[in-house]
């Protein structure tokens, strides 16, 4: 007799959220899938065009360029994960004082709005008066025009991408490190293993489940980069061709050129890319992730 009422309460309490998710999440997914097979007319309305959008996208140099830029960016940002491991390991040194101060400082870029971060780095990376080229000049390196140069823009953006995620990843990794039982280290030091050896033999292997999680999250987020491109790159100059990402292209096609069907196809392509690459990550984890 109680359970029927419990059912009713259950449905009642999830109803608002379920309705909202249906309207603003589930319906849009279905609609975007549908739109990706259509072409939007000049006066609104959509006509079915089959897979034409996808064949157009895969034959378009701009799209393939964006795909390449996005993948390069994702690889570069994932290559920054070891930095977060080092930071987390340093924060985990026994007896370290000031942990929360360091954590706050490393976390500042995470909580700052990307628009402000992007503008700051746009200034630092300026080819003529930017501090980075000035410092490079001091050690005899003639720095490039970074965000004004199609060959360097994506690297500049990736540096900022790494800088702004180190703190977030380090916090996740630190939680993983704190889960490694102390007795492992005590046994190792009794056996005479130094701290560096302990780091490579105990810390890194036992941390791999967390590292895996962090790498996957970092990859998924990196594949969706938009803000930094939009704020850092000179959008009317040649640098955009070397730094246009998939989501930037989505924005451009969907809301600058008003080709909604094509933009929807780009979003679907992105979903496919994320699913495939995540699946590959899960396959590969068997080779390097140690579960106890």
């Amino acid at each position: 007799m109680l359970s029927k009422r419990e059912w009713a309460w259950g449905y009642l309490l999830i109803a608002p959220m379920a309705l909202g998710l249906a309207v603003f999440y589930l319906w849009p997914i279905a609609q975007t899938l549908y739109l990706s097979f259509t072409e939007s007319g000049v006066f609104g309305g959509y006509t079915w065009v089959g897979t034409a959008n996808f064949t157009e996208l895969l034959g378009d140099e701009e799209v393939l360029g964006a795909l390449g830029n996005t993948l390069l960016y994702a690889v570069l940002v994932m290559a920054g994960v070891p930095l977060s491991i080092v930071v987390a390991a340093l924060l985990n040194v026994p007896g370290l004082r000031g942990l929360s101060v360091y954590r706050t400082l490393y976390f500042l870029p995470v909580v700052t709005m990307p628009a402000a971060v992007g503008l700051t780095w746009r200034y630092l990376f300026n080819g003529d008066f930017g501090a980075i080229n000035y410092l490079l000049g001091e050690v005899g390196i003639d720095g490039p025009y970074w965000v004004g140069d199609p060959d360097f823009a994506i690297y500049a953006i990736a540096i900022v991408g790494i800088w702004s995620t180190i703190g977030y990843n380090a916090v996740l990794l630190l939680a993983g490190l704190q889960g490694i039982p102390r007795p492992y280290y005590e046994a190792a030091s009794i056996d005479g293993a130094g701290r560096l050896r302990q780091f490579f033999r105990i810390t890194l292997p036992l941390l791999t489940p967390t590292t895996f999680f962090v790498v996957v999250i970092t990859m998924i987020n990196a594949l969706q980069v938009f803000d930094l491109v939009y704020l850092m790159v000179d959008l009317k100059g040649p640098a955009l061709s070397g730094s246009r990402t998939i989501v930037y292209l989505f924005f451009e096609k969907g809301f600058v050129q008003n080709q909604r069907g094509l933009a929807a196809a780009i979003a679907v392509l992105l979903l496919g890319l994320i699913l495939v690459l995540t699946a590959i990550q899960f396959r590969l984890q068997k080779k390097w992730v140690h579960y106890e």
Partner: protein, 271 residues
């Protein structure tokens, strides 16, 4: 046992912290420089106390209005998320009803989908409602979230069964149990979700950029982006705007960082 030395860690962490901090310090300094000073080579590392930059930026874009928009949107979205997510999360964690598992899986599936897939249809919904260039357009999709529901469900699950049972014997209905007993006990989760939601709402760029093109209806993120179009290399003005736009969230974080970190590590370890 011998105490391990910590100074090498301090040296390395301090160097790293400086790299983290330098761009912010630099931004504040340049926001107080004159335009010629900001373009100097070698760079000038001291402010020239050009306070008028801050006045100029408020005059050139409706920054005060955008600030208010951002605050209103963040406040309503956060309040909505906390209420709706906690209601659903409580039901998923503590009540039994047919289809619970399947519906929850659907929620989780939504989490996996990149946000770009939602944008075009949401835009058309807003267009259909005549809500383009309104604050509702920024608020409505934001109050619903699968992530918050998932996060809070994890918190509700950790509470002992006896709590509900005892309250039920006393004749309390599920809504009363949720409000009087459960909600106070998941405060850490609510705080973490609240902070994360404020941050996301404050920072998000793509959706506000797409849906509100009237400067009066923009949030600070989109406002800064349009400011960049206006003042290509007038960095003192751009940075005055950036400082105003990013300071509130930084301050909030510095004060409440412990709770945010707890929430993030919670998703990391249980996710």
């Amino acid at each position: 046992m011998n105490r391990p030395r910590t100074w090498p860690a301090h040296v390395l962490l301090t160097v790293g912290a400086l790299v983290m901090l330098a761009p912010f310090a630099w931004q504040v300094v340049v926001s107080l420089q004159t335009l010629p000073d900001s373009l100097r080579l070698p760079p000038k590392f001291t402010p020239s106390w050009q306070w008028s930059n801050f006045g100029d930026v408020f005059r050139s874009v409706p920054l005060a209005r955008q600030f208010l928009n951002t605050v209103v949107v963040a406040a309503v979205v956060t309040a909505g998320q906390l209420l709706l997510c906690s209601l659903a999360a409580y039901a998923f964690a503590r009540l039994r009803f047919p289809g619970r598992g399947a519906v929850f899986l659907l929620f989780l599936a939504v989490l996996m989908v990149p946000g770009e897939l939602f944008i075009i249809p949401r835009y058309e919904i807003m267009q259909g409602l005549g809500w383009l260039n309104t604050l509702q357009a920024l608020i409505a999709p934001g109050v619903f979230g699968a992530f918050g529901t998932f996060l809070l469900r994890q918190f509700f699950r950790t509470l002992p069964r006896e709590l509900d049972e005892a309250a039920r014997l006393d004749g309390a209905n599920p809504l009363q149990i949720y409000w009087h007993i459960m909600l106070p006990l998941v405060r850490p989760g609510l705080l973490a979700l609240g902070l994360l939601t404020v941050m996301w709402s404050w920072s998000s760029l793509l959706w506000p950029l797409v849906v509100n093109t009237d400067p009066e209806m923009m949030t600070l993120s989109a406002g800064l982006a349009s400011l960049r179009g206006q003042f290509q290399t007038n960095f003192p003005i751009l940075f005055a705007g950036s400082v105003v736009a990013s300071l509130p969230v930084i301050a909030l974080f510095v004060v409440l960082q412990r709770h945010l970190i707890a929430g993030i590590t919670f998703t990391g370890s249980k996710g």
